[in-house]
Symmetry: C2
Subunit: 335 residues, 2 copies
Amino acid sequence: MQRLINHPDEVVDDMLAGFLRVHGDAVQASAANPRVIFKKHLADRPARVGLVSGGGSGHEPAFVGYLGDGLLDAVAVGEVFSSPGPGAFQEAIRGADRGNGVACLFGNYAGDSMNMQMAVTRAAEEGRRVAIVKARDDIASAPKSEAQKRHGIAGGVLMWKTAGAVAKRGGTLDEVIAIAEKTATRTRSVCVGLSPCTIPAVGKPNFTIDPGHYEFGIGHHGEAGQYVASLVDAQSIAQAMVAALLEDFGPQAAGGEFAVMVSGLGATPLMEQYLMAGHIHDALQEAGRAVWRSYVGDYVTSLDMNGLCLTLLQLDDDLKDLLSFPSSALGLASL
Amino acid sequence: MQRLINHPDEVVDDMLAGFLRVHGDAVQASAANPRVIFKKHLADRPARVGLVSGGGSGHEPAFVGYLGDGLLDAVAVGEVFSSPGPGAFQEAIRGADRGNGVACLFGNYAGDSMNMQMAVTRAAEEGRRVAIVKARDDIASAPKSEAQKRHGIAGGVLMWKTAGAVAKRGGTLDEVIAIAEKTATRTRSVCVGLSPCTIPAVGKPNFTIDPGHYEFGIGHHGEAGQYVASLVDAQSIAQAMVAALLEDFGPQAAGGEFAVMVSGLGATPLMEQYLMAGHIHDALQEAGRAVWRSYVGDYVTSLDMNGLCLTLLQLDDDLKDLLSFPSSALGLASL
């Protein structure tokens, strides 16, 4: 493994130690659980609905990097590609709760769902008002007829953004949940993988992609995609990604405006992300769809996977307004 | 090559097409030279000193991604790892000039220096006031006794930031150049490489790093470093990087405050960048140095190289004030 790590079993703690060193003015670890990270000084700020997320590590900047103004208030941090336990989610809910309720907005995976549900039940027993919305944007993870089973991938970021804006503006828990659900329902993603990723504690790739091939529809942990094919030109791949998403949206998205997110998966040069973004814009235009705004960069990654996630969010005026509301994600590089 | 590209000879044009599609509200290509990108509506803004940079491609988000408010006004975009020609630099100077002079702030490489110098001479013949400062932060590229020969790597970003702040505040060309030179003089960087990068048009790595090894002091184009050694734990590598930089700063930096930039080289997971940042903070603290602020992310890359660049900028109150001035780099992912 050609990696900048210490002991492979300690990468999450070592990463969090670095995150806290860099962003210690803005966030802190829970005294009760060092794998739960809060925004600082929440009690001194105006009472707002709290936003909680969390999940397995290896997706940086997700989840901890989306702590920030107008975004998440507390996150539970799991082992690499593994859900945090219910206690960690519960502690995150406690930390985010300022009396106005807590929205738990996370990806739709079995472990996360089970553990978050237990945490929500316990939090309710503590008298807290808590509700959940699961991102389920990965169209390759289940057919449209079973869309509620789909996994959440990079598209969850846009749900945190819109829900965070409603919360920051003083919206109620019901209003925050409604906009998160609306965003999740209108968000679809698909990934391509060109090279696999390696969980440090395993030490070898957890799947293979033969040289000269790519996998269409691969998941954020290397879940098998829809097909493996010979690697072709970027334009053809971009066109196939756009076509798959638009087909899944179906006719109700005709003529709509979209937000586009192009997220590298961890080892994908930004040069290629922009190159792909150009072809994605072209393909959307050819299909009669308008791009309102594009986001390009490593928004949600899969360790050192080489590949790309394309996310489309079908907009309306309300969502455009919320996406325009200022926010700052600690884990996105700024200057 | 497992890459998301079309024809390998067209990656730069394809990347720029995508960049312009995504950021077309803020930037445009020169009508005279499509490899020169300007901020839009410069003529409608208050007259300020113009900031120009440029260089070879493959370092994204540099250079084109540092167009933005409080940063660069125009860039010349070269082929992968190759300088733009003098005509492109000259066109960038023309585009950035609003009558208050132009500061050309770029990396100290032979091709860039020669071509930029020719462009500056021609611009002077057009009656323009132009001055240059070269970033020369790579301590591994030449000994301290020949510090003027050192290459500019990720540290150049901090020069654009401080000079951009002075320009935005209405500083004169002399003031912009003075702060750029002060920043360049106080900035030092060193890289480690774990896996090489591949120029698309070449199709195979332009150097090798044997598995189980890393190269200390590698350059941003794979220039040979100071040594190759067996890959050890991240903490030891971080300590070695900090020690090398502090030794190069010498005793005048004792007790000083530093800005720290940890930049991934293109294929380095953010998890590892934060992990390294933690150890770098620790090593600086152990050496009695204070960290004022850290920047972590892919600031200047080398295609798909796996590795890290550490930059330290020795601060004073003036530089801290300028680093705190708001700016927005188009090519850094935001939300």
